[in-house]
Structures are given as structure tokens and as C-alpha cells.
Assembly symmetry: C2
Homo-oligomer: 305 residues x 2
């Protein structure tokens, strides 16, 4: 099994945030730091300064410890573009394609490549979620698993014997944001309080015939006829969208057992509700990026380059 | 058959525009005017001034001619709220519920009520489309017809023997606008030129398994891998959305014959393409609001109140 026999400085660098972990040779996180300096908040050429500011003291005090970065930092809009590795892919395939970066100090850092799936009706891609999945799989690589990583662009990921074999992205979170902020539906909402009953009503609506584009309009009409309160409209819309995502994903991925949810706890709980109502068992996992980074770093020489 | 045996000043007053027609006793339009003064462009209390500015000369020179208004002007955000008539409803039901308005001159005007459908999984509503449908039905009221009125909020409307029996709204146009203007997909598009091949590719994508929220992401991935050009991404997205709407609507409404398209010609042509590829014949109708207003005005006394 891949795993770093040495300490690692792991960095999960996404669109909105950067999170750093100081991990020992046994995979235990000893320190962690975060900043709202995702790649969209950093100008081109500014990434090394952000890294130094966040963990420069770790890097200089442990010169032999490898630095490994995952997420959108390896995209075209990030520090340097790391070409995608095609599915099916496990730790070995991803570890073999780590992209080296020379830091100003002469030290080398490594960017984890994202995954691309090119064998379906249209391509699909991920950057960072592969690392979370490898972290989640650390103790149970054998067999088939289905993961759901809800978010702006939710991912549904099938694994077999420790490798990612198939995945799909759903733009649920982004569409929810657009509709609440910019559409006629947003004007019918008040507050951001979660309303469990209206979320369930949205899940029910999603199970009707008629299609998503039709169901969305029921946010408006149910407000017009006072069937839902303004304070429940946001949760009702959330139920419609998550209900459609979950139905489509279950049709495509057909889980054999429990679906593992990986994400922000409040959002994961909504997906757990949607899945449970469909008769699917779920478990929710804690943050797994650090362990994923540590496992991938096992492909590096002990000196970290 | 309902029809005004007298001239009518008909006004189709929507969200963005107002269109007025001077119609003779035989239903022929003699003059027409329009202004970008939809209800969102007029402050509360300002509707009568807009009406006077647009057709004040018609009103004063033909004092006995009734003025009849359809569309969002009868909504809560319009001039005065005209309660919905419930489906099934034909000219008779709508004509019996015309809402009278006293103008400053002492003359009376009438607002056509919208329709509400309350018997399904969630309510649905229309304002203005019922008038277009009644105009389209003028010469062929017997039998069953399916109409599609594409737009910001597309309507699919089933009629039987001249009455609207069932309808559904799809938020396709609004979602398209949100995604092109505000989402990550919009950043991958250039220009607004129609690209027929990419529109067809979007229709094909919509026919795949996986669901709309997943298919949307393929705009991003196909641009990432240069499978579509930036100038074709807009049409590809349009094909995905219209393809999903048409599939859902055909599932719900099951047309027995030709689908009649009523809308802006360029948009109607896209729906015709989508329907034809599904083996459904279409015909596209010219603007029918004026004839609908004239037919509904047949319920009024000749003196117009």
C-alpha cells in the first residue's frame, strides 16, 4: 500500500480556500492552517508568496520534508497546469504524474494531477476530489464504493479496489446559487434558515414527472398561493435540485451498498436525507484531504526531491 | 363562437413590452403600436399615463370602443390584480371574469384574468398566454391541440374543443440567461452567433442518461478539451436546455399530432428543430394576441361599458 514513510507538508488548494497540513510519517496531522486565498483570490505569479506566508516556517524548519499540493492549483488558472490522468486511476497512476515545481529556495514542490474521464458521452474532470477519495479509501481499498462529494460542482465517484473507475459532475450548487441570487425565484425568498419540511417537499416535487425546468417554477407558484412561506422557499428549491441530482446519480451509478458522503457537514446532511428517502444507506466522512496527500506523497523519494 | 362584433382596442402588456392593436369588428388589425414599457419599466400608479401616451388618441377618437388588456398587467405587480380563472377554461370562463378598471376619463377598460391550474402536484399559472392561445384557436377550436410558447418561462398548453385543459411552465429561458451571464459556463463562451451543429450536439447530450445538472458541466469540459469552439458553446448550452425541456414536455403532454409553436421566430425555430428530431411535426404561428383580445372582447357589451 502507498503511504509516505516520512513527514509531508500537504496543501489542499481550491478555488476559494487554501488549507495546509503538517503530517508525520504515520499519517497523523500535527498542525493545520487555512486562508481564504483560493486560486481566484491570488493573481498570477502570486502563489509562491501565499505558500510562504502560510507555511514558510514549516518549509524552512524541515528542509527534507516534501511539499505536495492538490486541487485547482494545478489547473490552467492555478500555479502551473498539471495534465489530467485518465480514469481508471489509483494512487500509483496519480503518483507517477506528480508535477514538480521549483520553489525560489531551490526546494521542489509537487502538484497532484487531476483526473479526466474521456470514455463517456462527454468528458468529465476533477481536481482535488481524487485526493479526498484516496484519503477516504486508506483503510478499505478492496471492493466497490460510491462516493458523493456535494458542493458547487458535486462529484459522484465510483471506486473499485482502490482506483477511481468512473465519476460524474453535477452543477447543483452553482445552479442553486444562481437561482437564489439572480432569478425571479430569489425574490420570493426570505432568510437562510433551513426548513426541513420544505426541503422534503422539494425532494417530493423532484420525484414527480415534468422535469427540473418545470419543477423550478413551482417555487414561484407555491409562493403565489401561499403553499410555502417565504422563509421556506430556499429549502424547497434546495430539495428540488438535490432531489434531481440524487435521482440522476442513482440511475447512473447504481450503488450496491452505502454511499459515502464527503463534504461540508450541513450540506452532507441534506444529501443523506435525500438518499435515505430513496432507501440508500449513507455514512458521512470527516475531512480526508490530508490523508490523501500523505498517501500520494508515498510515491515520492524520502528526500522529497 | 365568441368574437367581438365591434371594434376593440387590444393591449398585450407583458413584463418587458406593451403592444397595442386597433382591431375592427371583423377582427382585422388596422393599426399597431409598441413601447418598451412592460410592467417592470413602469412605477406603480404610472400605468394609465403609459396607456394614454401609447393609444390616448385612439381612445378619445373612439369613445365607444372597449379597451381590453392582457398579460402581466393583471398581476400583483401590474395595474390591478385580476384573480386567476382555474382550468379547464375557455373564452366563456375568461370573458366572464374580465376585471373592470375606471380610467380618469370615466371610460372603462378591462383586464383579462390569467389562468391557474390547481389540480396537479403543484400549481401553475399563466398571464397573457391564454389570450395568445384563444387567438390561435379562432379557426379550429374542435379537437385536441398542443401548443408550445417558448420564452423566459416557456409554456406547454393542451386544449380540447377550444378550452385550455392543462399546461406547464418551464423556466428554460431564465436558466439559460443565468448560466450565460453569471455562471462559470458563461466565461467559456464567445459571441451570440447561432451554431446549428453545436445546438444539435446539445440536443444529443440532453438525450443521454445522467440528468440536466450533469449535462450542463459538459459545456465546461468540452471547452477544456476543445471539442467545441468558444463561439459554439452558447448554442451547445441552448441545445442541452431545450432538449431537456422538450423531452420532459413530450413525456407529460404526449401530443397526438402537430405541435403548434407560438413565439419569437428565431427561438421557435430552435424548438422546431428539437421536436422534429424527436419525430414530432410542428407548425409555427404568427402573433395571435390581437385576435385573442378581439375574441375575448366578444364577451363585453357593444358599448364597452
Amino acid at each position: 500500500m502507498s503511504a509516505a514513510p516520512h513527514p509531508v507538508i500537504g496543501v489542499d488548494w481550491g478555488t476559494s480556500n487554501v488549507r495546509a497540513y503538517l503530517i508525520d510519517g504515520a499519517g497523523t496531522v500535527h498542525d493545520r492552517r487555512a486562508a481564504p486565498k483560493g486560486i481566484l483570490a491570488v493573481e498570477a505569479g502570486g502563489f509562491e508568496a501565499v505558500l510562504q506566508e502560510l507555511v514558510g516556517d514549516w518549509i524552512s524548519s524541515m528542509p527534507a520534508t516534501p511539499v505536495i499540493l492538490s486541487g485547482m492549483i494545478g489547473s490552467r488558472q492555478g500555479w502551473r497546469e498539471a495534465p489530467y490522468v485518465e480514469t481508471p486511476a489509483g494512487i500509483a497512476e496519480v503518483g507517477a504524474k506528480l508535477l514538480p515545481l521549483e520553489l525560489a529556495s531551490g526546494k521542489r514542490a509537487w502538484i497532484v494531477p487531476g483526473l479526466a474521464q474521456r470514455d463517456g458521452g462527454a468528458p468529465d474532470v476533477m481536481r482535488g476530489e481524487e485526493t479526498q477519495i484516496f484519503g477516504a479509501l486508506a483503510h478499505e481499498a478492496r471492493g466497490r464504493y460510491l462516493f458523493c462529494l456535494p458542493g458547487t460542482h458535486s462529484k459522484w465517484v465510483e471506486t473499485e479496489d482502490g482506483r477511481i473507475i468512473r465519476f460524474a459532475t453535477h452543477m447543483t450548487g452553482e445552479v442553486f446559487g444562481l437561482l437564489t441570487r439572480h432569478s425571479i425565484l430569489g425574490r420570493m425568498m426570505e432568510g437562510e434558515t433551513a426548513d426541513k419540511d420544505r426541503f422534503a417537499a422539494g425532494l417530493d416535487r423532484a420525484a414527480d414527472a415534468g422535469g427540473l425546468l418545470h419543477h423550478l417554477f413551482s417555487v414561484r407558484t407555491r409562493r403565489l398561493f401561499d403553499e410555502i412561506p417565504a422563509t421556506g422557499a430556499r429549502s424547497y428549491l434546495s430539495g428540488i435540485l438535490i432531489g434531481h441530482e440524487v435521482s440522476a446519480a442513482l440511475g447512473a451509478h447504481k450503488p450496491e451498498g452505502t454511499v459515502a458522503l464527503l463534504g461540508e457537514p450541513e450540506l452532507a446532511a441534506l444529501y443523506a436525507t435525500a438518499l435515505t428517502r430513496r432507501g440508500i444507506a449513507t455514512k458521512t466522512l470527516a475531512e480526508t484531504s490530508a490523508r490523501g496527500l500523505w498517501r500520494i506523497a508515498g510515491s515520492l523519494p524520502a528526500a522529497g526531491g
